[in-house]
Assembly symmetry: C2
Homo-oligomer: 355 residues x 2
């Protein structure tokens, strides 16, 4: 399929101060859209000026949340070029989400081409200040104007772009995490392994109550036994316990993060032992009490690495590494961001140049 391009005649003012971009505050001049209609498949791929969707009030996405998304970034390197990070993994995961949510699959290679073309059209929006990037949001939602519950026959695939600031403008710093015992994010048999909008709606309340208590994120436990660690906020989570790096195995309720995957490969390439296994909150408490809970961090596209400085489990407050960023955590952050922004040679073949 050819992607038609209609350029805006009224380009927006770009944000003047790249140190104040924040996250998701600004959107670029253009967006990619493609439609699915039963009988026609995915068709009419086009880049058009960024602007509102007209949705029928009965549109299924507004009622039954048949919607999925992906998140990735374009990075400006020192030589001024722009690169993506493992876009093939994001698009493969998008199809995993499609399958679970009864959404017709997309052509992964074509979707990568659409991303590249859109970023190329809006390349002047890719910021260059240290730590900044262009956040890329591909997503699909159901548009059937029909309040009956059924898999949609009409959907929209869109990609929007947002220049975003450094996640740690004051330098990477550990955060305090609340271990959630009341609310559950996902359960085996559900959609926790996908990027369904549903998972995020379900997680809002726990996050809100943790925030009220002064905690930045929640540590989610499994929905069956309510004791196995699953994710932190909307990130995957890693712990270094007595020299072993542990991250929860992908049992069906946990998102297979691209950053998670990359961190595991990075650690293994450096000779670290990484265990993907079940990890109970009790094991974490015991490790803490024995002085063996050495480091903890979240991984995700937005933060890349988010060091955990404290875990609160009921009345027990567990500082990790005296609330400071650990050695492995820091190495991972420096290495992965180094590869992403082109400061370190990419030995893995993870980065993909635009142009």
């Amino acid at each position: 399929m050819e992607i038609s391009i209609t350029k805006t005649t009224t380009p927006k003012q770009k944000p003047a101060d790249e140190s104040k971009l924040g996250f998701g505050q600004y959107y670029t001049d253009h967006m990619f859209i493609m439609n699915y209609d039963e009988g026609e498949g995915w068709h009419n791929p086009r880049i058009v000026p960024y602007g509102p969707f007209e949705l029928d009030p009965a549109a299924m996405v507004l009622h039954y949340a048949q919607e999925i998304f992906e998140g990735m970034k374009a990075y400006r390197t020192a030589d001024g070029s722009i690169q993506l990070f493992r876009p093939d993994k994001n698009m493969a995961r998008m199809n995993v989400s499609c399958d679970r949510l009864c959404i017709p699959k997309i052509d992964e290679e074509f979707a990568i081409k659409a991303i590249k073309t859109l970023v190329e059209v809006d390349k002047d929006w890719v910021p260059s200040l240290d730590g900044t990037s262009l956040y890329i949001r591909p997503y699909i939602f159901a548009t059937d104007a029909q309040v009956g519950v059924h898999p949609a026959k009409h959907l929209t695939f869109a990609i929007i772009l947002s220049p975003v600031g450094a996640y740690y403008p004051q330098g990477i710093a550990p955060v305090k995490i609340f271990v959630e015992q009341k609310y559950v994010r996902a359960v085996i048999g559900g959609t926790g392994f996908t990027k369904a909008g549903a998972n995020y709606a379900i997680s809002l309340k726990g996050q809100e109550e943790a925030a009220e208590q002064g905690y930045v994120q929640t540590l989610w436990l499994d929905g069956v036994e309510r004791k196995y660690v699953e994710e932190v906020g909307s990130m995957n989570v890693f712990f270094k316990i007595d020299g072993e790096v542990v991250t929860p195995a992908l049992v069906g309720s946990i998102l297979g993060g691209i950053t998670r995957m990359s961190i595991i490969e990075l650690l293994q390439s450096k000779g670290y032992k990484v265990s993907e296994r079940r990890l109970s909150i009790d094991e974490l408490v015991e490790a803490f009490k024995a002085g063996k809970l050495e480091e903890a961090w979240g991984t995700g596209t937005a933060a890349v690495i988010s060091p955990i400085g404290e875990l609160k489990y009921g009345d027990l407050v567990m500082p990790v590494n005296n609330g400071e960023i650990g050695e492995v955590t820091h190495m991972l952050y420096d290495t992965l961001t180094g590869i992403q922004w082109g400061k370190i040679k990419d030995e893995f073949g993870w980065t993909v140049k635009i142009d």
Copy 2:
């Protein structure tokens, strides 16, 4: 608050044949809208011509499914008047959903007033053929143009109306149900007790696979032990076992249906014993094998009562009452639909007249 009314200048053609309305195929001339903005609360309630919403591509509802809904009906009675069924219960439940999904609560009485006013404006759309009704869909969705995950600060409350056909145009008939063992609809700690769009997105896949095997709906089991009966399709479920009427207790993962509540009250008023308790699939199998699984039915706004004629659990096919509608099931259907359409005196004070 005053509800402003702007009438359409281009009324639609009403569906000519009330025997072919189907469900959710037609929408009336008007809709109700009210906005929430942080600092202002819910404001600007208005009835306007039915027409599309303009949504920013970054609108939260398209990404994180922060959305809830309700479903209810307006019924045309023999004397030509129009009545609602327990609208206070729907609006109370809407606020339960709001709370769980971090959505600012609505004024329940005002919302009922909005429903009544809108139905009054579009009263000529309430069909009068036997078994037809006007489906009422109140819903709320998040509109913040921001791809950060957070509870929305901007939301839209809307009500749309759809004239719908008789659920059983050929007369009430039992359906075949597939007992779902692979997928889970909801788990305690999640949003299963609310009408979050998320629950419906999560349930699509199980429904689709059941349909591929020739089954109309799935019987959902609990997400923890995967053996306790929870719901059927998007309905509550009842069984008559050895004279006892049993329905799953509202443990936190099951929707508290208004029809469910009414059926329990109706049965109790007639001297039936109703047990709200945990009910395992094993108990159902044993009852079936002992010849004590006497009747089974789903309850919900759309169907009111949906008799179950067969359950398939793995390789075991369990006909219920020889695949025919049971005596209690039929009595409940006749009584409740009788009250809703004003054919039977409402001894319970459930119906509310419009005007």
